[in-house]
């Protein structure tokens, strides 16, 4: 168990270092996220009365777009020189690789969210009428829900044609309960009209169930020829 976590950490550090050195994915993603927010601002009038009720949905749809583009990059570096073969041939546990990639994606998407959220707050004059601190578990659990399945399906898509479209195609249907919970939870907190408590519990359940499923099946996916 000790070696699993130390290897996960080593892989995560390696990925962060690589990303920091090239910065190409990060910069492109940041700019893309900015554009997504701007398009939403032009499409959904911030001054309208109803915007407070739909902003929860807008924000998460924007995060979803950004997350998918980020997730498609997950294995790009490994594919370049068939590095995954080196991993498959080694005695290293496959789950260390999975956790490292999932955590890396999580951090990446959180960075993007950190850019997009202030923009949404500014453009839509957002204020949480409900308990604002609850946005943190909603965002955290919701992002993990997207990222854990996204990393798994990104690995699945490696063996398919039209890789970039397969990832969202597989990810979206499975993510629907999480998206409902994220959006409804965020809206509940922003409007203060309902409690987000149940949605947080649902997201937690979703995360536990699917993290377990991913960890159980990732080795099979990694070794698929």
């Amino acid at each position: 168990m000790n070696s699993l976590w130390s290897l996960t950490l080593a892989t995560l550090v390696k990925d962060i270092r690589l990303e920091w050195r090239s910065k190409d994915a990060l910069n492109a993603m940041l700019f893309f996220s900015l554009q997504v927010v701007v398009i939403f601002v032009f499409s959904f009038d911030p001054l309208a009365e109803e915007s407070r009720h739909i902003v929860g949905g807008l924000v998460w749809v924007a995060f979803l777009f950004a997350a998918v583009v980020a997730l498609n990059q997950t294995w790009a570096r490994e594919l370049r020189n068939q590095v995954l073969d080196a991993y498959r041939v080694s005695p290293a546990p496959a789950n260390a690789l999975f956790l490292a990639k999932a955590l890396g994606n999580f951090l990446f998407v959180v960075v993007l969210q950190a850019l997009m959220v202030p923009l949404f707050v500014v453009f839509y004059n957002l204020r949480a009428l409900g308990p604002g601190w609850q946005l943190i578990p909603v965002a955290g659990l919701g992002t993990w829900a997207l990222v854990v399945n996204g990393t798994f399906f990104a690995a699945m898509s490696l063996r398919t044609r039209s890789r970039e479209i397969m990832l969202p195609l597989l990810l979206f249907p499975i993510s629907i309960p999480a998206v409902i919970a994220m959006v409804a939870g965020t809206t509940a907190i922003l409007t203060g009209e309902n409690s987000a408590h149940f949605y947080i519990v649902l997201l937690l359940t979703y995360d536990v169930v699917f993290t377990t499923a991913c960890l159980a099946l990732f080795e099979t996916i990694l070794h698929a020829e």
Partner: protein, 300 residues
């Protein structure tokens, strides 16, 4: 077998015609909705058939995944037995009985749990090895067709009666939509995958989909309690005569589904035989002209 199919086909056609007659003529007119409601005799049986087929796919996929290793296969068997035993015993506990939704009898729950467990073992027995995967793809494809019928008849029914095509809070219709999406993505994965382990990947996706379904249900259910929405499917109890026609209709649909699945299964089986023959030819053919002897060790 070859004679059985035409006989069953004729029987099915008769049954479907009879069900149609019952649905359009015999069943009483609904007090509130008039004759429009009769689409329910297509809508609901399609849904039940689709769910049954998707359940078969789930069981077949799990069996396919666990049989990779002997230990996982045994573990899965014991888990199913445990679920069966616990499920049946639990329905006798008063605390559990009280928490069941109204209208659901404990004996019905116990029977269902038991049937699920028996089902698991029967499928494992009747379909061994590669046949599990053939069953999975068959049930997924036919299930998607029936699911499409549900999604088309749902809005068709909703529009004249409630004035809207769709209500996002309608649990049943929305859950069905998500199920449809999951299984269409399953079929797309099967088609687009160029891996040697396509069957494993698809089985993994099916398991993910099955784990997702209860979560979908709960998320919409809670959303609905906070945002009351019209219920398209209609709630409450049903006139026993209507229920009678509904069950006849379902029987006809099941027979039809069985026939389609059987054909599809046969088609898949033949397809794989052809592939095997080609593979065998590639294996033997090109090398036949060369004299190559099995060598055991090199001399030194």
């Amino acid at each position: 077998m070859k004679r059985l199919f035409p006989i069953l086909s004729i029987l099915t056609v008769i049954l479907l015609a009879y069900a149609l007659y019952e649905a359009l003529v015999v069943a009483p007119t609904d007090a509130l909705q008039g004759d429009v409601y009769r689409i329910i005799y297509y809508h609901v049986p399609s849904a039940w058939t689709a769910f049954l087929l998707f359940f078969i796919n789930f069981v077949a996929s799990i069996q396919y995944l666990v049989r990779a290793k002997r230990s996982t296969e045994l573990a899965a068997k014991w888990i199913v037995i445990a679920i069966g035993v616990v499920g049946v015993i639990a329905t006798f506990i008063p605390a559990v009985q009280h928490s069941l939704p109204t209208g659901m009898r404990p004996s019905a729950v116990a029977t269902t749990v038991l049937l699920i467990a028996i089902f698991y073992f029967l499928i494992g027995r009747w379909f061994a090895g590669d046949k599990l995967d053939m069953l999975a793809v068959t049930s997924a494809e036919v299930g998607v067709v029936f699911c499409t019928i549900v999604l088309v008849t749902g809005p068709l029914w909703a529009r004249p009666v409630w004035g809207i095509w769709w209500a996002p809070g309608d649990i049943r219709l929305t859950s069905t939509l998500v199920l449809w999406l999951i299984y269409v993505s399953y079929l797309v994965l099967r088609r687009f995958s160029n891996s040697a382990q396509t069957q494993m990947l698809a089985a993994a996706l099916a398991v993910f989909g099955a784990l997702d379904v209860p979560l979908v249900y709960f998320s919409i259910w809670f959303f609905r309690t906070q945002h009351p929405q019209p219920v398209i499917g209609g709630g409450g109890s049903m006139d026993p005569r209507m229920l009678h026609v509904l069950l006849i209709s379902w029987l006809a649909f099941l027979c039809f589904a069985f026939l389609v699945c059987w054909s599809r299964f046969r088609l898949e089986s033949l397809h794989r035989e052809v592939e095997q023959a080609h593979a065998m030819e590639a294996l033997v053919g090109a090398g036949a002209s060369k004299t190559s002897l099995p060598l055991s060790r090199s001399s030194q």
